[in-house]
């Protein structure tokens, strides 16, 4: 796989999850107790043998840089290739929305030109899965296609992939149309927004789109060239979740309380790496009661925790009750509080004797650093 380079494109729509992406990009959002969303794509790429990986950021990139750093934790701190983080020349989100992500690719075209790999694998951070890209690339090579798009066939559950791209396929698994999921179909093929093509092809698509000015987003440019290209589809059958809304973020976390899914997502084609934080083991006091929960290291738990995801360095004091909730790092929950269906962002503090009840279909989000 040393002839494949990877690109993680972070120009993701954050409209429906923006309460959790105020000071960070979506890729840097905490998930499952000890990870960030981008860890999954980085690990998938590294586990598939890629050693040249670029992250194209769009605003709030400091959060990504602090987390990913030199790529050391993913084994990407290399002399040749390794990890690259690219910033748009103009770093404000608004401008990106106006200019599209093509501008960022154009500004860093020399990186694509100077890379030595034959193929490029494009992906997003928010399509969460444990995938073996070796198999995807092999499929691409065998198919003789210009572009391969990874998809998953979904039955019902519109809510889990709202507004995602959908693929229409012919009986040869060739892509004949790309649409949007509006929830009108019982069964549809959701695009996982992972594209494999030759590096030269990608450069041509970017150059021609900029030349003609017919697209602002790379995805748009690819879709417009659908008639000219042979585009085939690769079917993925594993666990997939798209973290694009608060509800999906919440449901996905809760789903992982299923140990089988846990095993698949954290191990199937290789382990998920993350930045290590050197927190000590978690302490459960004699008065604590914890059930059906994922708990990260560094916590001190004296209260009651049920069906919850507890991130690193959280403190839950005596008499507190936390149910069906997600607590991000450094959260403090004081004595005699009662939380249900709540998402507490980093460093939030709940003072004693508070009751916060959200709803399963609409969890209550407490923003970063808030003291309530």
């Amino acid at each position: 796989m040393n002839d494949v380079m990877g690109i993680i494109n972070l120009s993701e729509s954050e409209e429906q999850i923006k309460d959790l992406t105020l000071g960070r990009s979506l890729g840097a959002l905490h998930i499952f107790g000890r990870y960030r969303i981008i860890d999954f794509q980085l690990s998938n790429m590294v586990n598939s043998g890629l050693s040249n990986v670029a992250i194209f950021t769009y605003g709030k990139s400091h959060s990504i840089m602090l987390h990913v750093g030199s790529g050391k934790h993913w084994g990407l701190d290399r002399k040749r290739d390794g990890l690259y983080i690219f910033y748009p020349e103009v770093n404000s989100e608004d401008n990106i929305r106006r200019l599209g992500d093509l501008e960022n690719y154009r500004n860093h075209l020399d990186y694509l030109q100077n890379s030595t790999q034959k193929y490029v694998l494009l992906s997003r951070s928010y399509m969460l899965c444990n995938i073996d890209y070796k198999d995807v690339v092999q499929h691409h090579r065998n198919s003789g296609s210009d572009v391969t798009i990874v998809y998953k066939t979904i039955e019902k559950s519109y809510d889990r992939f709202p507004n995602c791209d959908t693929l229409s396929l012919d009986d040869q698994n060739r892509v004949i149309g790309i649409g949007k999921n509006l929830g009108k179909e019982e069964r549809y093929n959701v695009s996982m927004e992972m594209y494999v093509m030759k590096r030269e092809r990608l450069i041509k698509i970017i150059e021609s789109a900029i030349q003609r000015g017919d697209a602002r987003f790379l995805k748009e440019a690819i879709f417009q060239r659908l008639p000219e290209l042979k585009v085939s589809a690769y079917r993925f059958n594993g666990y997939l979740s798209c973290i694009q809304t608060i509800n999906n973020y919440f449901e996905t976390n809760m789903e992982l309380l299923n140990t089988q899914l846990c095993e698949e997502l954290f191990n199937k084609h290789g382990p998920i790496y993350t930045k290590v934080m050197d927190a000590p083991s978690t302490y459960y006091s004699e008065d604590s009661y914890v059930s059906n929960s994922l708990v990260a290291n560094g916590c001190i738990i004296e209260g009651k925790v049920e069906n919850s995801i507890i991130h690193r360095d959280v403190r839950i004091k005596k008499g507190a009750v936390v149910r069906n909730s997600i607590l991000l790092p450094y959260v403090t929950v004081s004595e005699a509080t009662n939380l249900n269906y709540v998402i507490l962002d980093k460093h939030a503090t709940i003072t004693p004797r508070k009751m916060l009840f959200g709803d399963q279909s609409n969890p209550f989000v407490i923003k970063k650093n808030m003291v309530l």
Binding site: P280, S281, Y283, Y284, E286, S288, S291, A296, N297
Partner: protein, 380 residues
């Protein structure tokens, strides 16, 4: 190109066989013994070095210790992956006549003089690899410099009735040491040496060479080098330390020191973010407590799945505790699978094993069971 140098080099004596740790040290060197859920014993000393901004550390071992080697790696877990300096494991030196073992603690340093000289340091810090404590060596070095000492020994007050187990120091009001007794029957002091020494390197270097050519020496710091320096005209000072400090040389002291972590206000306070205790972090998901699991007064590390009942215990990385199993007053070492219906009390369960369903392991507070043990007397 100018010669680079380091102000201070730390040397960790980690060669003890640890035979009083019974089966625990059958396959791993004592410094590599798991501790406190996510650490190994030597992590405390290495983290002290890192947090004290001492970035050049030699670890003196007797064997080529595979597990210790792979634990240390290139030292990046302790921020000690440096091109000049960093951490290095130093097995006994090979010369043209073949290898040889270190004779005593001082001999081990003597044999590695080249390593130290390569950094041209002003000071050398001698440490032991099997103590559990947090200490800022820079403060000790500051005292050493202020007093313009040749040797500074870190000391701790111990109860008088335990004093005769230690090397004891008598110091005047300026903390100048005028007498040293190695494990005396009748202690004249309750200031115990912690086995932490800062030497001015030129002084130690000269003493080591002299010691090497003296015939009746056992080449040991406690028995030879230090008493001689105290008796001679060297400036030897005490540096008073107070706080948590334990030697974990026996199964029972290892067990107790682990149990000391089970409390909110334990003296070691591993949750202190300004003094992180570093170790190799496992690549494992968070711990999962199932609907059947129950954890009380215990610490649990990443990668564990708890479906049974855990009481007053220390559960290390990647341990599984099955349904209806009860683990109490116990240390479970990493990557061990305790199946369903197992009863464990007052025990240390070794790493990488499966404890079969139905097993009962029972120790007592005074005799902690080690499982599996060679004799097999502890379990039915």
């Amino acid at each position: 190109m100018k010669m680079q140098k380091k102000e201070i080099v730390a040397m960790i004596l980690a060669g003890g066989q640890g035979s009083r740790l019974r089966e625990i040290t059958d396959k791993i060197a004592k410094p590599a013994v798991p501790f406190g859920g996510k650490f190994r014993i030597i992590d405390f000393t290495l983290s002290n070095c890192s947090n004290s901004e001492i970035d050049t550390v030699g670890i003196l071992t007797q064997y080529q210790p595979l597990e210790l080697n792979s634990h240390i790696g290139i030292g990046s877990s302790w921020d000690l992956d440096r091109n000049f300096g960093g951490v290095k494991i130093l097995p006994p030196y090979f010369d043209k006549e073949g290898g040889r073992f270190y004779m005593g603690t001082a001999n081990a340093i003597f044999e590695n003089m080249n390593f130290i000289d390569a950094y041209n340091p002003n000071y050398v810090l001698i440490l032991s690899g099997d103590h559990i404590y947090k200490m800022d060596y820079q403060k000790m070095l500051d005292t050493h410099k202020e007093k313009n000492a040749d040797l500074t020994i870190s000391v701790i007050e111990v109860p008088w009735d335990e004093a005769s187990r230690f090397g004891l120091l008598s110091a005047d009001e300026t903390d100048m040491i005028y007498e040293f007794q190695e494990k005396p029957d009748e202690p004249k002091s309750n200031l115990a040496s912690m086995g932490i020494y800062i030497f001015s390197w030129p002084v130690l270097r000269a003493c080591l060479i002299e010691d090497h050519y003296s015939e009746d020496s056992s080449s040991d710091f406690g028995k030879d080098i230090i008493p001689k320096m105290v008796e001679g005209h060297h400036k030897v000072y005490a540096y008073r330390f107070s706080g948590y400090w334990r030697d974990v040389g026996t199964v029972e002291s290892l067990w107790e020191s682990n149990m000391d972590l089970l409390g909110l206000d334990n003296e070691l306070n591993l949750h202190d973010k300004s003094w992180r205790n570093y170790s190799v972090n496992p690549i494992s998901p968070p711990q999962y407590i199932s609907p059947f699991g129950r954890v009380e007064g215990s610490i649990v590390n990443e990668g564990c799945v708890i479906e049974g009942h855990v009481i007053k215990s220390v559960i290390s990385t990647d341990v599984h505790v099955g349904r209806n199993s009860v683990v109490q007053n116990t240390i479970v070492m990493p990557n061990t699978n305790i199946e369903d219906d197992v009863q464990i009390d007052y025990a240390i369960i070794l790493s990488d094993i499966t404890v079969k369903s139905g097993t009962v392991v029972k120790g007592t507070r005074d005799h902690i069971a080690v499982y599996p043990s060679e004799g097999g007397e502890n379990h039915e």
